[in-house]
Symmetry: C2
Subunit: 193 residues, 2 copies
DNA sequence: CTTCTTTCTTAACTTAAGTGAACGAGTTGC
DNA sequence: GCAACTCGTTCACTTAAGTTAAGAAAGAAG
């Protein structure tokens, strides 16, 4: 399991054996059961989550309704907003599948950064990469209709459509579950012609 | 003008006189006329833009139509996706007003970072702050209707509604100009009751 | 000042998403 | 095995956004 992490990291920066051992000694690997809530609305945490296996989900509860805004799967990470702001979280984070996660602590990170400046560079690269990717995603969302968004998802992250409940997918696409059902029926109808 | 920049920067990290002089000597301040296109689709640039005064706008041209996805006003910055990827840009950047900008070059930045490691820290803080803010914005966009988005904009960035053409605002809200007109009329109608 | 263009609004009509309700399939728990 | 629950789908109806077109208002150019 650790090897998966090292394979991922060394794509960005080379790591010495000492550095690898330092990472392992942090004891950050954690197995989590499906349905576990990692963060609740109102909580303040210093933990960030990185998915090695499985899928975690971020959602708001607005007027009693769950609104899913993001899924994180293999090799994707989530640092809750409240980690930086130290304000109560506006949203929940939970596991939609059994997961193997890396759970890291903000304090711990700064300590590691002190010892290995390389990690600072790594964090900067990763955060800028994510910022760029997210901007593209946001732009695509703004400029397309629900149907286009669904077709787009089918292209870019078709695994999500298989592994995630439809009603969670719906709010991820910015619509209601009924509309997603209808939209899918419409697409199938079109493809028959 | 330079003082505005220093005031902004020293909110994040303290700066020595030497560092301030180093910044000034880079000759990065630029006055730009309204309507100037800073980046075109298909171009590859290494320039980032930071707005000291005025407003710049990011837009796609899809099927002959302009789709505005972001505005950057005072103390906001834009690093085009193509700076990191070195792939042709998918979008345009232009000035919606006369602007005073800081135009910085990726090569230049790494040079400055070498001399003053503090700037590396500053970049990391700024990029993480922007990432967090953008995630919140994206979530709010996904979980709300066009009308709610407009009311939200009225609260959080009412200046934009005054200073930016309606048809650009419309695609920023993910709708057509006609729908924005109608939506505004609807809101006024409601408030009369 | 006049002309041309861009921008904004309004209207009628079409299309798609929201809403509320109902139904069957699959789970869970007793 | 049966009741309770969740989940996905379908239907009828309502509401809002897309589309096409036309006209008024404001700006820019000559």
């Amino acid at each position: 399991m650790q090897q998966i992490l090292f394979d991922f990291l060394t794509k960005y920066v080379p790591l010495t054996e000492a550095e690898k051992n330092a990472i392992v000694s942090l004891d950050i690997f954690r197995s989590v059961k499906k349905g576990t809530v990692l963060l609740r609305e109102g909580q303040i945490t210093k933990e960030s989550y990185f998915v090695l296996k499985g899928c975690i989900r971020k959602y708001y509860v607005l007027e009693g309704e769950e609104k899913t805004t993001a899924f994180y799967t293999e090799m994707e990470g989530l640092t809750p907003h409240c980690v930086a702001s130290q304000m109560p979280s506006e949203y929940y984070v939970s596991c939609t599948e059994d997961c193997i996660l890396i759970v890291s602590n903000a304090d711990m990170e700064s300590e590691v950064n002190g010892k290995f400046p390389k990690f600072d560079t790594l964090c900067k690269i990763l955060s800028e990469e994510r910022l760029g990717k997210q901007q593209i995603d946001f732009d695509a969302f703004k400029t397309s209709s629900p149907e286009q968004r669904y077709l787009n998802l089918l292209q870019s992250r078709s695994d999500l459509i298989q592994r995630v409940p439809q009603h969670q997918l719906a709010s991820y696409l910015g619509i209601k579950p009924q509309s997603l059902s209808r939209l899918r029926a419409r697409i199938i109808e079109k493809s028959k012609e």
